[in-house]
């Protein structure tokens, strides 16, 4: 690929040559961040990179909100009886924790930040296919979040993020604004997915065929397909619940012949693929980070690429495994159980490929790679407990207990969040032109990892013991594991806050880098750090022999170990 040489465009400060009223400021290279610093240029930006940065800010806000609720919940759970907050407040908080974390953080986080920032760079394009729709996506999200916050301030829903009927259609808590907020955010999710699909299909640089695409792109592509096809379903279903609440239409009301189980089917038809919307992008990040720090081609490119599509497809067929004890027929349960086993194979194949990427590579340790190591353990453990839960008879005692809670937190936090942090540290120099303190970021990562494992491993065990989820009060015998979980949760929180702090400090005072500090062969690194507004000078063309994992011989990597 013909790289764009990061030309040092000095900023001319005076119009009349030779006349200098003031001493010229140091030559500052124009990039996407500083070429126009007006408020309007940010609020109405059509630049995919700026939009990615905006998403980063929004995601930090959303995660902090959801995390704040989580800490309060865990603090309450130190005691088995009433403590700190009332039962109603607790119920509302776990609902909001779930709603914010699932719909307003996990679904948009990696596609919104990295998908937006990186996709055009990786494809050699100037922007995504529909920049205006891209901005609209952000505003849909913000509007949706505002509705949800408004609902929260007025007490908040207490239905759980799963909104099961008839409880959700009859509870007097503030459900409708939150439903509407999720609906709008979902609309934004569809728009983003549509944007990415079209971008990947139509805006690849000349010479960039599908089998040369970075694996990140493949995973984002699969994610976008799910977003486009599954999200309308949840949108419609939540709208139906809102209708029933507002107008009393009784769609899911047994007294009027409605079927609460129909709601569950429709809800999970989206929400199971939704977990793949959350995890596929994390896999996207893992592929890139592992390849870069191993300086090696991913072991089994096609396996990783096609398994993403496999997950997207088979993921649509397994929703009934959330309903094994809901009252579907034994036959249906068997079918869903069987299909659920198949979907796990794709992830298994990927793990072997990622680990194998280090084979005959040249591996440099770094914070991003540390997060990936954590990912390896946690994703396999979390994923296989998922297979365990899908084993029908085992689900009967586990369903609705903390075992399930632990399983999905292992995947959501242990896998997705860890991958996100890996990606954030990896692409930080590209996004902001600076590096961070390796020592402190590693310290934060260790704290977060230890905290995480302690928090949620305890929850596997207390689930085994029989403690149901969404419990304000619990039987005394569950207390010791709850206390352990809470203590580690504080550690996790501190680790994450430290990680954020390290990056914030680096944003302003970190050592500046101009170009590809990691020596990655990824196409996105051919742009400058940070990139210019148009990404590249002229139109990049992909040569026959180049690809994003073309690591040849060892070179001196500028950013030393």
């Amino acid at each position: 690929m013909n790289p764009s040489t990061p030309s040092a465009e000095a900023v001319a400060t005076s119009s009349a040559p030779g006349v200098q009223a003031h001493p010229p400021p140091p030559a500052r290279r124009l990039n996407y961040l500083n070429h126009d610093t007006s408020v309007k240029s940010w609020f109405l930006t059509l630049d995919h990179k700026r939009i990615g940065v905006i998403w980063l800010g929004l995601m930090v806000m959303a995660f902090s909100t959801g995390g704040f609720f989580a800490l309060i919940l865990r603090t309450k759970l130190l005691h088995p009886g009433p403590y700190l907050i009332s039962a109603q407040e607790y119920n509302r908080m776990f609902t909001l924790h779930g709603v914010v974390m699932v719909f307003f953080f996990l679904i948009p986080v990696i596609p919104g930040i990295f998908g937006n920032f990186l996709l055009p760079l990786m494809l050699g394009a100037k922007d995504v296919a529909f920049p205006k729709l891209n901005l609209m996506s952000v505003y849909l999200y913000v509007t949706g979040l505002s509705f949800a916050l408004w609902g929260m301030i007025h007490g908040g829903a207490d239905t759980g993020w799963t909104f099961y009927t008839p409880y959700s259609t009859t509870t007097p808590s503030e459900v409708t604004p939150i439903l509407f907020g999720v609906f709008l955010s979902g609309l934004g999710s569809i728009v983003t997915g549509l944007n990415f699909i079209v971008t990947i299909h139509t805006m690849r640089a000349p010479g960039l065929n599908w089998m040369k695409l970075p694996l990140f792109t493949w995973s984002i592509y699969a994610t976008s397909i799910i977003q486009v096809l599954a999200t309308p379903v949840i949108g419609m279903v939540l709208l139906m619940v809102a209708f029933e609440r507002t107008f009393g239409w009784g769609i899911f009301d047994p007294a009027r012949g409605g079927d609460p189980i129909l709601f569950q089917h429709l809800f999970w038809f989206y929400s199971h693929p939704a977990v793949y919307i959350m995890v596929l992008p994390s896999m996207a990040v893992v592929s890139e980070v592992v390849a870069c720090y191993s300086r090696n081609r991913p072991y089994g490119y096609k396996v990783i690429a096609y398994s993403s599509l496999g997950i997207a497809f088979v993921g649509f067929l397994t929703w009934g495994h959330h309903m094994f004890v809901s009252g579907q027929s034994t036959f249906d349960a068997g079918v869903f159980g069987f299909l659920s086993m198949l979907v796990g194979i794709f992830s298994a194949a990927k793990i072997f490929s990622w680990v194998g990427t280090m084979y005959k590579g040249s591996v440099e340790f770094s914070t991003p790679l540390f997060y990936i190591f954590g990912f390896f353990f946690l994703f396999v453990f979390g994923g296989m407990t998922g297979v365990a839960i899908a084993t029908l008879s085992l689900d009967i005692p586990w369903h609705g207990t903390y075992f399930i809670v632990a399983h999905f937190h292992f995947i959501m936090v242990g896998a997705t969040l860890m991958a996100f942090l890996a990606g954030l540290h990896y692409w930080f120099p590209l996004m902001f032109g600076r590096t961070y303190s390796e020592r402190w970021s590693l310290a934060a990562a260790i704290m977060a990892l230890v905290g995480f494992v302690g928090t949620f491993f305890s929850q596997f065990l207390v689930g085994n013991e029989g403690m149901p989820r969404r419990y304000y009060e619990y039987a005394e015998r569950f207390q010791s594991l709850n206390v352990a979980s809470t203590m580690f949760a504080y550690l996790l929180a501190i680790g994450l806050m430290l990680a954020l702090l390290v990056l914030l400090i680096a944003l302003f005072t970190g050592e500046k880098v101009e170009h590809n500090p990691w020596g990655s062969a990824g196409f996105e690194w051919l742009a400058a750090c940070p990139p210019i507004a148009e990404n590249f000078e002229g139109q990049p063309v992909v040569a026959e022999e180049s690809d994003p994992y073309a690591y040849k011989v060892d070179v001196e990597v500028p950013h030393g170990s």
């Binding site: 055009p120 394009a125 100037k126 922007d127 995504v128 296919a129 529909f130 920049p131 569809i190 549509l194 944007n195 699909i197 079209v198 971008t199 299909h201 139509t202 805006m203 486009v228 096809l229 599954a230 999200t231 309308p232 379903v233 949108g235 419609m236 279903v237 139906m240 209708f243 029933e244 107008f247 009393g248 239409w249 009784g250 769609i251 009301d253 009027r256 012949g257 409605g258 079927d259 129909l262 089917h265 429709l266 148009e534 002229g538 139109q539």
Partner: protein
């Protein structure tokens, strides 16, 4: 900066008033058109799934309440429903003709055909309005408001819940389709859509066809039970 971009892409001749605008991040009009067209197809896929939810709910409830659904369906105005179906199918035909004529650059034919299609679409909405009014008066209403004579409450109320959700969502999409047709007509009028760049007409046409297709599923399920 903009001038540089245009020069770099090398086709200043096609931009300017009266010609479709090339967005800055595309290097050619063909690529822009291709991307837009592709995007519309993806969007239509998304829309189909929106309706799929309601179809699934309908299927489930009809399975449980087969006879009540049949009884309730009798109370719909079959004549108006059939006429509406013919209207919509005809309007799809005229829209298809419009996409044909735009390729021949026959501006007058295109505008006429779009106008006719829109009139039929408006007619559809008006007739729907009459149907709904009749339903309100008869008591054929969703959920707890249901009080139609001769149809059992259980099953009857669900039929009309499904009916109003389906036709309501569909009607909203007809309105969106009308807006898109207006937009396409305006583009044709101002010569920013023509044989060389027929995308607006094509997009409006595709959307209209989807709306029609959804109705073709709705009609037998609701009226011909």
């Amino acid at each position: 900066m903009a001038a540089e971009a245009v020069a770099a892409t090398g086709h200043g001749a096609e931009t300017g008033p009266g010609h479709p605008k090339l967005a800055h991040h595309y290097e050619s009009l063909e690529r822009q058109a291709h991307a837009n067209r592709f995007g519309v197809w993806v969007f239509l896929g998304s829309e189909s799934l929106l309706f799929a939810v309601l179809f699934a709910s309908y299927a489930q409830y009809r399975d449980i309440n087969a006879s009540a659904f049949a009884l309730a369906s009798r109370h719909l105005n079959l004549l108006l429903g059939t006429f509406n179906t013919l209207l919509l199918i005809s309007s799809s035909f005229t829209v298809a003709l419009a996409t044909y004529y735009i390729k021949k650059n026959n501006k007058k034919a295109v505008l006429t055909l779009i106008a006719v299609s829109m009139l039929m679409g408006i007619g559809f909405i008006v007739i729907k309005g009459f149907e709904w009014t009749a339903d309100f008066n008869e008591g054929a209403l969703p959920g707890r408001f249901f009080h139609l004579e001769g149809v059992p409450f259980q099953g009857g109320n669900l039929f009309f819940t499904c009916y109003f959700l389906l036709t309501g969502l569909h009607g909203a999409h007809v309105v969106i389709g009308l807006v898109l047709l207006t937009w396409a007509a305006l583009r044709v009028q101002h010569n920013t859509a023509s044989a060389s760049y027929d995308l607006p007409v094509e997009i409006a046409g595709l959307y209209w066809h989807l709306v029609d297709l959804i109705w073709i599923f709705l009609y037998p399920l609701l009226y011909l039970v």
